[in-house]
Symmetry: C2
Subunit: 212 residues, 2 copies
Amino acid sequence: MARKARTHYAILGLICWKPMSGYDIKKMVEVGLRYFWSESYGQIFPTLNRLVDDGLATKKVDPESGGRRRQVYTATRSGRKRFEAWLRQPTDLPRLRDELKLKFFLTSRSETDEGVRLLEEYRTQQLEHLAMLKESEVIFATALQGAGMPEELDQLMKTLDWSDSDMTDEQSHEILVFYLTLRSGILVAEARVAWVEEVLPILQAGKLPETL
Amino acid sequence: MARKARTHYAILGLICWKPMSGYDIKKMVEVGLRYFWSESYGQIFPTLNRLVDDGLATKKVDPESGGRRRQVYTATRSGRKRFEAWLRQPTDLPRLRDELKLKFFLTSRSETDEGVRLLEEYRTQQLEHLAMLKESEVIFATALQGAGMPEELDQLMKTLDWSDSDMTDEQSHEILVFYLTLRSGILVAEARVAWVEEVLPILQAGKLPETL
DNA sequence: TCAGACATGTAAGTCGTTACATGATTCA
DNA sequence: TGAATCATGTAACGACTTACATGTCTGA
């Protein structure tokens, strides 16, 4: 397998988690993992077939499927081993390429106004993102507090192949993990907003406050 | 130019900021921008020549250079215009692909211990990163408070072609901008550590605290 | 019957890193 | 003289997205 092969392991991990088709994987990523991961069809299908070639997964046609025949992929024993070995390997920090900070830096020889404008754009963007995350947070928290299963989780439930009437401990644990990863997105977005609040007055004053 | 062409604009922006060679750009990125950007030689040199082909930059040999002849690139008028237009375009959110959160999610059907281990690894990693950032913070703050120019800034000073005896207002403004982008890295790293502190006890308890 | 959802896939191109090749100068 | 550093560049690969092509079933 290739150098980092993050996509390979992401997909291998998902089919270890639960046998799935390429389409299921895409749904799963869009509904549940979108706060910290993305995959496109152009990666998913070639990768799945590559996993089969490498003996890490098997493919079989789902006999129950209506529509075009679903190809369901399942991790083999050696696939699981490979996945578990990857889990234990040290994890790189996410790649840093923050376009807005680059723009901000590059305006340092222009008018201060330009930097202020960029910071305000950043704040607006992050606040919108935050609002979206907080909506999801409420949905997950409702489910976790046993106060019913919000409609918005239905699609996720279906992808996970759960019946909506009975929530087992394991399912509730999985919803908890969704919630926890979501919290991380919220804390980071809040930190970015806090950064703007800290930095705007300094930039406008042109210097650090005396009280540092 | 290509779809997003972040690298093109990053490099164009740097030579608008100040005429530089490919080698200077690499240094600049490593010393000053590394908290939010990266570029490799494999991108820098082809991109610089592409900018010349497109009429956005000019190349000339630096007559004063010892060693192998330096090729110094300068933005043309149309290069500057292009760069300024890019600055005003809406900025995408950074791409999300956080490998550790993926691992954390994928362990949700394994033993809780595995998730705990990953969170602790994340905390350690972030704390190390934070310590490094805070060292740099002290260095920049010292310079900004006029308490002398720390040795560690020498390389940066040289890349920016400043003599170390006189710090003009403009130079001090640029150091301020370095400092402000650094603060952003610090706030985000702190938020990630806070996330671990929040999440570890919840994961170990297996449920949200009653007091939510 | 036909729009829309489900489902799988490919081609082309963009984006980015790593490893390597090369050459000149400085200084111990 | 020869190691370190400054400096430029390419080839090969790997990572990822977008747009497109295709096919099947369901239900209005």
